[in-house]
Symmetry: C2
């Protein structure tokens, strides 16, 4: 493989990373191709050598975002935990003030769920595959209780969305704290 091709692959990866961050932070619709390319250190025209359209990038950006979330929830200090110990530690991390305040580095569901729900089937398929992967990993940590995993993820997502949309930091804290007691 010639070096030029490796360079192109690196550019592509930078575009996907930029999209993953900017879409989560500002929304898909409110992020322009210009914004993305500038963030990746490129100019707008080059975008279409990598992706067919802006919409085609959304799936790849979602995959990158979910991969980050899986690392946060199942690796590092949380890797060895199981059952309720994992649930407590993971809840603390997902429902941290840090996660509330930095959507651009956080879970794609509260940040992009509503836009994904209105997207074409291919995007929703990509999103679904990632949600299934998260639910698989969660229920594996929760003694195979898949319904519990769904309930836990739902509570995390809703609390994060609410805490971000509300204006008062006190109310946001209270919502996240209450959600941390989800069983």
């Amino acid at each position: 493989m010639p070096e030029s091709s490796e360079q192109k692959a690196r550019s592509r990866a930078r575009i996907v990373e930029a999209a993953s961050r900017l879409f989560r932070g500002r929304g898909y619709r409110d992020t322009s191709v210009d914004d993305l390319m500038a963030d990746a250190g490129l100019t707008r025209g080059g975008f279409y050598a990598h992706f067919e359209s802006k919409a085609a990038l959304l799936g790849a950006a979602l995959e990158a975002a979910f991969a980050e979330s899986r690392r946060n929830l199942f690796e590092g200090r949380l890797a060895a935990l199981r059952g309720d110990a994992w649930r407590r530690a993971a809840s603390e991390r997902y429902l941290s003030r840090e996660h509330q305040r930095r959507p651009e580095e956080g879970c794609a569901v509260p940040a992009l769920g509503a836009e994904v729900a209105r997207a074409e089937p291919e995007v929703r398929d990509a999103f679904e595959a990632e949600v299934r992967a998260i639910l698989d990993a969660m229920s594996e940590r929760l003694d195979g209780d898949r319904a519990r995993a769904m309930r836990l993820l739902s509570t995390w997502v809703g609390a994060t969305l609410l805490s971000r949309a509300v204006h008062s930091p006190r109310l946001a804290d209270a919502i996240r704290r209450a959600a941390r007691e989800a069983c």
Copy 2:
């Protein structure tokens, strides 16, 4: 008050209703002033006799949407219920397939939360006031347990967002069903 003014008030109400429906159904950003006004049976130019800007309409649209939600959760068949009986009946309604499939008539939080989180302070204040009102009413039904109300609303919101974004109706059903067991 002359009749012309009453007519203007009726037009304004129609614009707010249209916005409340269309914003929830298609998103704030993906609904144009033209769309809104056409839906209200008017033409675009007239909009600015009623609202200073498109952004100024979002707060009013949110209030209308939350009023609808409060009617759905606390009036009619649910008016007399308290404690766990209310929780079960309200969960069944919020987590119905109907609510999943009709965001334009549903709760504003899963539909517009992410866009509100990025909106100006005035919009977030309006949103917060409505969330507080819902939480007040919920905890009143739940023996004053405000943390439980926050947890329950979070689970409802997250499950609805997930079920709408995912492609498979089977997975969507499973998520809503699991969330119905939230305590």
